[in-house]
């Protein structure tokens, strides 16, 4: 009983710009309205490996995830804390983000992996984003009997939110592109 799916998306922007946008996605205040499910993002830890050019970052992401009323009644809250671990390898030009929930763990386990790498056909101009998500209602939890239904709804919500995320990413990339060309928006 695991709901898993993957998505792939190509940004027609170089890897450096796309990963820069990824850092700004939750940091820029003007994205708050589009990404209204994200309540709070804090950097908890960071480490630079100055030998190999790798940057490790851990962030806390607080998400507003209201389920249907019968789920809320069981869980008793609609806020979920997640931890996101990121490794950016500047030498290999790869960025990998892994996010998992750390609250509500006795009910559900959500893992999301996102990877940004240069597009093989146009490594200096385009970037591939691969995203894998898995959602699992814990088999012995109070939600187990409706697991399939909840996983499905969760997945739908996640897909909606990742579409919003892409919209924001595209907007920031466009902004950065204009900026680098000296055109002001």
């Amino acid at each position: 009983m695991v709901k898993a799916y993957s998505q792939e998306y190509v940004y027609k922007h170089p890897w450096e710009r796309v990963t820069s946008a990824s850092w700004r996605k939750f940091a820029d205040p003007e994205n708050k309205r589009t990404l209204s499910h994200i309540l709070e993002v804090d950097t908890l830890n960071r480490k630079l490996d100055s030998q190999s050019g790798k940057l490790y970052t851990t962030r806390a992401i607080t998400i507003h995830a209201p389920g249907p009323w019968f789920v809320r009644k069981i869980i008793g809250q609609d806020i979920c804390h997640c931890v996101e671990s990121t490794v950016v390898d500047a030498q290999l030009r790869s960025m990998q983000l892994n996010t998992r929930n750390i609250s509500l763990q006795k009910f559900v386990e959500v893992v999301e992996k996102i990877q940004y790498v240069p597009h093989p056909d146009n490594p200096d101009g385009w970037t591939v984003c691969r995203q894998e998500t898995s959602i699992q209602i814990k088999p012995l939890s109070a939600l187990a009997s409706m697991a399939e239904k909840i996983e499905q709804r969760c997945a739908e919500k996640f897909l909606q939110n990742s579409a919003k995320g892409r919209e924001v990413m595209e907007r920031i990339c466009k902004y950065l592109e204009a900026e680098s060309g000296g055109i002001s928006l």
Binding site: W23, N45, I102
Partner: protein, 108 residues
């Protein structure tokens, strides 16, 4: 499933740190860098361009982190503030293998 506005503006335990967080973001990858010559972009101006030997934004980071350790009341989250190795551990533990090579299929 309606999202209420009140929910977004309230509740946060780390909001006392928001100005320190903004100062850190301003150094790490500022929005106003090119536009108004405000802030700095260590990530896009240095790190991704191959100048990763020197860590920057250190004082901004330390102030922000100090504030977080004071205000972060969730114990699940605060343990990530302390550990030096947690960053790697969280990722390795997750994927079953180190991410670096796996990410691009290039072995180290």
């Amino acid at each position: 499933m309606g999202i209420t506005r009140e929910k977004n503006s309230s509740h946060s335990s780390t909001s006392p740190c928001s100005h320190l967080r903004a100062a850190y973001h301003n150094c790490f990858n500022s929005k106003g860098f090119a536009e108004q010559n405000l802030g700095y972009r260590w990530y896009s101006e240095k790190f991704v361009k191959g100048h990763w030997e020197k860590e920057e934004c250190i004082s901004e980071w330390q102030k922000y982190r100090a504030c977080l350790s004071e205000h972060l009341d969730d114990k699940h989250l605060s343990r990530f503030l302390e550990a030096e190795t947690v960053v790697d551990a969280a990722i390795k533990d997750d994927s079953g293998s180190p991410v670096d090579g796996a990410a691009t299929g290039v072995p180290e």
